[in-house]
Symmetry: C2
Subunit: 187 residues, 2 copies
């Protein structure tokens, strides 16, 4: 069992109720009522799930030591009681992106698009976990799955964050993007 | 089927005859007579194979555009008729390595250890393909599998190359390394 492996299952069950399923670019992902986030286990697509997407957390690919220290000091944990809103954003980048050298990708991602700096502005409101899918053994439909959690009062700020990122040079390399918003029902 | 997925099966069958199995660091890998290199398919461990290691080729994590251009212009392809010698070198790095930020890993790998520059010195003699295992869904025993092919007359040069790399700061982060040398029997 790989503790860095997570699965996102869309279907009729799960802790999170889907409130919006927006196709930002490329092919849509089937509408579902609820979303489950599973760790470690690798469930096969079960009867009620319409789709299952998997990814692993991994080492950072772009952040410098200074950026990492700031992130570690300021990023909130997942599972905060007040963070009952979440966004699940699967993304696929173009072959042209993956053919770039490391210094070219870093320049576009940060020096041009300020991806890391923009994310830092929304700390500690928005918690985030990034999952990589591109190097799994199976062909995967997405390269990354990002999971964000925030309080209802930070919803507008989160919308600003994704709008800022989508206006960047980096996003010209995004060929498929789905933005699924979910809410955790209070118990 | 993922065309970037490769499997290395050690057992009694396969194109490549094992001539040496050296444990450079950490736990040994069982001795086998022959090695198969498989693409795409994900075979389960079959009766005669003692081990099966998998990895995917991926985008470069450290090379700059200038280094990439030089590599592309000078690296030979795999499968050259004269390159009947090969080395299969699985490596695992420490948790301390993976906890470093991107700029720290690049500094150690290249500015300090000259990993890329050293490899370039041995072009076009040595062909190489790097496979990543750390972000597969299953827990893998290694982080990387590297496959090298060269002619018998370049064997001594290849030994120099690996000795140079093993003397670097980067290699202080290697906690397991196996060096398996194989020969392709002429047909």
């Amino acid at each position: 069992m790989n503790p860095r492996l997570f699965a996102f299952a869309g279907g009729d069950n799960g802790l999170w109720r889907v409130v919006e399923n927006k196709t930002v670019a490329g092919e849509a992902l089937a509408d579902v009522r609820r979303l489950s986030v599973l760790n470690g286990a690798v469930p096969l697509l079960s009867g009620d799930a319409k789709w299952l997407l998997r990814g692993v957390t991994s080492n950072e690919r772009y952040v410098t030591r200074a950026e990492k220290d700031f992130l570690v000091a300021n990023q909130p944990r997942l599972g905060r009681p007040e963070a009952i809103c979440a966004a699940f954003i699967p993304i696929r980048k173009t072959e042209a992106w993956w053919a770039l050298a490391q210094d070219e990708r870093r320049r576009i991602l940060e020096e041009s698009s300020k991806h890391i700096e923009t994310g830092l502005k929304y700390l500690p409101a928005v918690a985030r976990r990034l999952h990589h899918c591109r190097d799994l053994a199976d062909n995967e439909p997405f390269d990354f799955l990002t999971w964000f959690e925030y309080a209802p009062s930070d919803s507008a700020a989160f919308d600003e964050l994704v709008a800022e990122l989508r206006a960047t040079e980096e996003w010209t390399y995004v060929e498929r993007e789905i933005d699924i918003r979910v809410v955790r029902d209070e118990v």
